[in-house]
């Protein structure tokens, strides 16, 4: 065969060309028919971008339906510091930005921008906020001349507004940008309720207080816009849009009036006491304290005050590291700790409620059993002496009088008699002192009431921190007056007194009362999605022969011979009888912790009010005064019929 014949060569050429076309057809079939579905998905992903719009969070109402946390839109201009490093004419850019802001209603100096840029953010991921609440004109200018402003960005943020300022900030908490770690735990499917509210790296999340515990209710469903973009990522149209849905509103048991009164009384009293000397000459630091107001009928938290405190508004647009550090040391105390639920204090004489209950219900004494109190109680051989506060001699005292005048000697005697048993610890446990209250706020602490076995275990575990593992009679004597081997939170004290006030039911304290529809009117019953029912966590058995003597004793405390008499001078106890107990817990090397636990009115109690104040001295002079101020408001509400909404619709 002649391999160079023109006919053959033409045929070869034809076959080659035909082969090429067949290859093209095959590939075309493969791409458009066989692979098309898979490739089309890629293509769609390629030309669409999902833009999530944060939905407004639900609002928060107080018990009387007043808005205490609201929303508003804020336009924020910020600079990405990493991007700024890449900008060539950095200084010109900043000057240009200052000009634009100043010319459009947000006067700002170049030096201010530079300062904001150097401020360390508590949240390093966020761009440095340069100006908040800028005008729409600024935004128009920045978006129109975007090329002139590299690294500068703006966002429309729904931010929280607090019409009552810092009031209840410890309860309300604050929101902030979600952290990368949190985001991971919230990925779709991990939500136990199956409510996937798609968080993304810019999402705002509740970081403290009810903002955190009721995140699921408060967080709205973000709007999702599927935007078609061109090859340069410029939006050219919308493929689908699902508008954002506001989160549910919530209503608290908190009465903002009572809350403000409690906070103010606390702060004022701490300021008065700070720097003065208590009876033994120790300087009062009076740095911090807390007030708890509970509804003993259902565990509703009417007020929860802590001092010092912070302004949640400062967190709304990102807080500087300097300010954050500052907040951790105000007069030697951190403003970021809610002492009412995390502070652990020796309860002092307020604990005598527990000791008396243990002694009476186990038949060690009855209401009339008395001893002679000469100011000193001796234990063991050689004798160890335990003294009354100020070495006061109270003469013949029974349990009623011992409570009224706070005879430590009487309770030292009870502690001595109950040594070798766990009767006090058992009673403490019944009142809920041995575990967390379960309040719907984050980071609650539990107190401790040590037993012989627990002390031993602690010693074995931490030999240096607890050098002595043996249980002495002295320990039980101290326990009887709420010292040394016992520490509790202010909320636990309030809950125990609430249980005594209502006849023995131990409730789980609750801040949130109702979950409401988005954009609700709290007074409209149809807007209520659900009511958080009271939860009973235990009971204390309080038959009349137990409760009677204790009640009588506590009633006397605010009376003329009681330890809180001075605090209630001028308060109309006949119209609004207050029942309570002072406490003065000794702290080594510092002024005493001042405590007052109470409830009122004495018959059919509606409020439990307790105050605990660090390094503030005698029970009545610090905590007693604060509690009295709170009662002034409550008594007024009670007498004028302006009761809290909590009591209005319950029962």
């Amino acid at each position: 065969m002649d391999t160079s014949s023109p006919r053959l060569r033409m045929s070869i050429l034809g076959v080659v060309v035909l082969g090429c076309f067949l290859a093209l057809f095959a590939r075309l079939w493969y791409l458009q028919i066989m692979e098309a579905p898979a490739l089309a998905v890629q293509a769609t992903a390629n030309r669409t971008r999902t833009i999530a719009t944060e939905a407004p969070r639900g609002r928060i109402f107080d018990a009387k339906g007043r808005v205490i946390v609201d929303n508003r839109t804020s336009l924020i201009v910020s600079i990405d510091r990493n991007e700024l490093k890449k900008v060539k004419n950095r200084n010109e850019l900043i000057a240009r930005l200052a000009d634009v802001l100043t010319a459009n209603g947000t006067p700002i100096k170049i030096s201010t921008i530079e300062k904001r840029l150097t401020e360390k953010q508590a949240d390093q991921l966020q761009g440095a906020p340069i100006a908040a609440d800028v005008t729409e004109e600024v935004i128009h200018h920045l978006s129109e001349y975007a090329e002139d402003f590299p690294s500068v960005s703006f966002e429309r943020k729904t931010v929280r507004v607090y019409p009552y300022g810092t009031a209840a900030s410890n309860v309300l908490g604050y929101t902030g940008r979600i952290t990368a770690e949190t985001l991971k735990t919230l990925e779709a499917g991990s939500d136990p309720d199956g409510v996937v509210k798609s968080y993304h790296p810019d999402s705002i999340i509740g970081l403290a207080g009810v903002e955190a515990t009721y995140e699921k209710e408060l967080r709205g469903t973000p709007g999702v816009e599927l935007v078609q973009v061109d090859s340069k990522n410029r939006p050219v149209g919308t493929e689908s849009y699902q508008p954002p849905k506001s989160g549910n509103d919530i209503q608290l048991h908190i009465d903002i009036d009572v809350q403000i009164r409690a906070e103010q009384a606390l702060v004022d009293r701490l300021a008065v006491l700070r720097g003065t000397s208590q009876r033994d000459g120790t300087k009062r630091g009076a740095p911090a304290g807390s007030v708890v107001v509970l509804d003993p009928r259902d565990g509703g938290v009417v007020a929860l005050a802590t001092a010092p405190t912070y302004d949640p508004q400062e967190f709304a647009n990102g807080i500087s590291q300097d300010r954050y550090n500052q907040l951790q040391n105000i007069n030697g105390a951190s403003a970021l700790i809610d002492r009412s639920i995390t502070g652990q204090y020796a309860p002092g004489s307020t604990f005598k409620l527990v000791t008396a209950t243990a002694a009476l219900s186990n038949g060690l004494i009855d209401g009339k059993s008395s001893i002679y109190d000469d100011g000193v109680y001796k234990v063991g051989n050689p004798a160890q002496e335990f003294r009354n506060s100020g070495d006061q001699k109270n003469g013949n005292v029974n349990v009623v009088r011992a409570l009224t005048v706070s005879s430590d000697v009487y309770f030292y005697w009870l502690g001595d008699r109950m040594d070798g048993t766990t009767l006090i610890q058992d009673a403490a446990s019944a009142f809920g002192y041995d575990k967390k209250t379960g309040i719907d706020l984050p980071n609650e602490s539990a107190g401790y009431v040590l037993t012989k076995a627990e002390k031993k275990a602690l010693h074995n575990k931490y030999p240096t921190a607890y050098p002595n593992g043996d249980w002495y009679t002295g320990d039980n004597v101290q326990l009887a007056v709420g010292q040394n081997v016992v520490a509790v939170t202010p909320l636990q004290i309030a809950r125990a007194y609430a249980a005594f006030a209502n006849g023995g039911t131990v409730y789980q304290p609750h801040v949130v009362w109702k979950i409401l529809k988005p954009n609700s009117t709290p007074s409209k019953p149809s807007d209520v999605l659900r009511i958080i029912d009271p939860v009973v966590t235990g009971t204390v058995t309080l038959p009349p022969d137990v409760r009677g003597p204790i009640e009588s004793g506590l009633e006397g405390v605010t009376g003329p011979t009681g330890t809180a008499a001075s605090a209630f001078i001028g308060f109309d106890l006949s119209a609004f009888p207050v029942v309570g107990k002072t406490g003065t817990a000794q702290v080594d090397g510092k002024a005493d912790t001042s405590l007052f636990a109470s409830y009122g009115p004495a018959v059919a109690p509606r409020w439990v009010v307790t105050a605990v104040m660090e390094e503030s001295g005698f029970g009545s002079e610090a905590a007693g005064e604060v509690v009295r101020h709170v009662y002034e408001l409550l008594a007024n509400q009670s007498l004028t019929g302006a009761g809290t909404a909590t009591s209005g619709t319950r029962d």
Binding site: L13, V16, L28
Partner: protein, 381 residues
């Protein structure tokens, strides 16, 4: 019958003379040219009008002008007896060689890193496009002179003739156009009777040359990336892959029947780069689907088949070689351009003749088809 009715209005001379050129116009080839040119205009417009609402017509208007000029060139190259080209082949070759030298001098202009065109007001003249046609003329002349008797000395002469414009175009640099010249030369040598031993030897040299070039500094990194992207589709570091991915997604998006005219989102939104030229096929495929693009490829195949047939029925070997050269030019540009868009050929920027936007390439393509028609018309003279 059909031919008679067409020619009934022709001159008296042609009615009487059965060998008259006008009696032997190839209507199938002309139909293919008209339809493909029309498809090209639609494709170019859809790829360049933008997402709107102010649709741009500038590419459509320009391409229409080129089509009209190209139609003129086609008539001219069909009307004058192609054998006259026998005398003019070297003049054309010399003129385009001069332009190829001139374009890499400061008189030429640059874009996309290649100095390949002259700015003539709003139009751009790309001498490399014309070089294809002049090389076909020169090689057809040489091989028809050799009459199938090619020794090493003659082979060297042919390779030198082809090598000069190739070298000049590589200096721009334009790999795609150089490859077309290589294919044209190979096709004409094959049909021109190059002994099989030389074909084997040239193929070996070519293979070694390609492998060597890929591993030597002769090619810039971007060229190497483009050439190898289709071999390693998983290599995310290769920028050229983005274009291939986008174009394949656009093609796949067409499915069986297409998204409809002006409704191809990838096309409309400008995801496919250089869509009016190198990736024009994606516009056709996304908007008209498998059905539409297969029909277009069939038309292209039919066009090639007609050229192949004309090469066989040509009166003389000069005509045959011209047709073979034009066949190589169309066949390879279709295979390379469409193959690249579908990811089975390396990325080299060459136009899909008659479809892609571009003045020089459109006019050259139509002129070349004019020559083929010429050969067909004069096969009995």
């Amino acid at each position: 019958m059909l031919q008679q009715s067409i020619s009934s209005r022709a001159s008296n001379r042609s009615r009487r003379d059965p060998t008259a050129p006008l009696r032997h116009v190839d209507p199938v080839l002309i139909s293919c040219i008209v339809i493909l040119s029309f498809v090209g205009l639609i494709a170019v417009y859809s790829a360049t009008r933008g997402p709107g609402p102010d649709f741009s017509k500038s590419y459509l208007v320009k391409q229409s002008i080129f089509m009209v000029i190209g139609a003129g060139a086609l008539v001219l190259f069909a009307a004058v007896d192609y054998r006259k080209l026998h005398d003019w082949a070297w003049v054309l070759y010399g003129a385009t060689t001069f332009l190829l030298v001139l374009v890499i001098s400061p008189f030429g202009s640059q874009s996309h890193g290649a100095q390949s065109w002259f700015a003539l007001g709003p139009f751009q003249l790309q001498p490399a496009e014309f070089a294809k046609l002049s090389l076909i003329g020169a090689l057809a002349f040489l091989l028809s002179e050799f009459r199938g008797d090619i020794d090493l000395r003659r082979l060297v002469a042919v390779l030198a003739t082809a090598g000069l414009p190739m070298a000049l175009i590589m200096l721009q640099p334009d790999l795609g156009e150089t490859l077309i010249l290589v294919v044209i030369t190979m096709a004409i040598l094959l049909v021109g009777g190059l002994p099989t031993k030389y074909i084997v030897a040239l193929s070996l040299v070519g293979l070694i040359g390609v492998l060597g070039a890929l591993n030597s500094p002769v090619l810039a990194d971007y060229q190497r990336n483009r050439l190898t992207a289709f071999v390693n589709p998983g290599d995310k570091s290769n920028k050229a892959l983005y274009n291939i991915e986008q174009s394949q997604q656009a093609i796949a998006n067409g499915r069986l029947t297409g998204q409809g005219l002006f409704d191809g989102p990838q096309t409309k939104l400008g995801f496919v780069p250089e869509q009016q030229t190198d990736f024009i096929f994606t516009a056709v495929a996304e908007q008209f689907g498998f059905v539409g693009s297969a029909v277009m490829l069939l038309l292209y195949g039919l066009l090639c088949f007609r050229i192949w047939r004309i090469a066989q029925v040509a009166k003389d070997s000069f005509g045959t070689y011209i047709c073979v050269g034009v066949l190589a030019m169309f066949g390879f540009s279709a295979f390379e351009n469409v193959g690249m868009a579908m990811g089975i050929m390396p990325v080299t920027g060459i136009p899909l003749l008659l479809i892609s936007a571009g003045g020089s390439s459109t006019i050259t393509a139509l002129a070349a088809l004019g020559l083929v028609l010429n050969v067909h018309m004069r096969r009995f003279q």
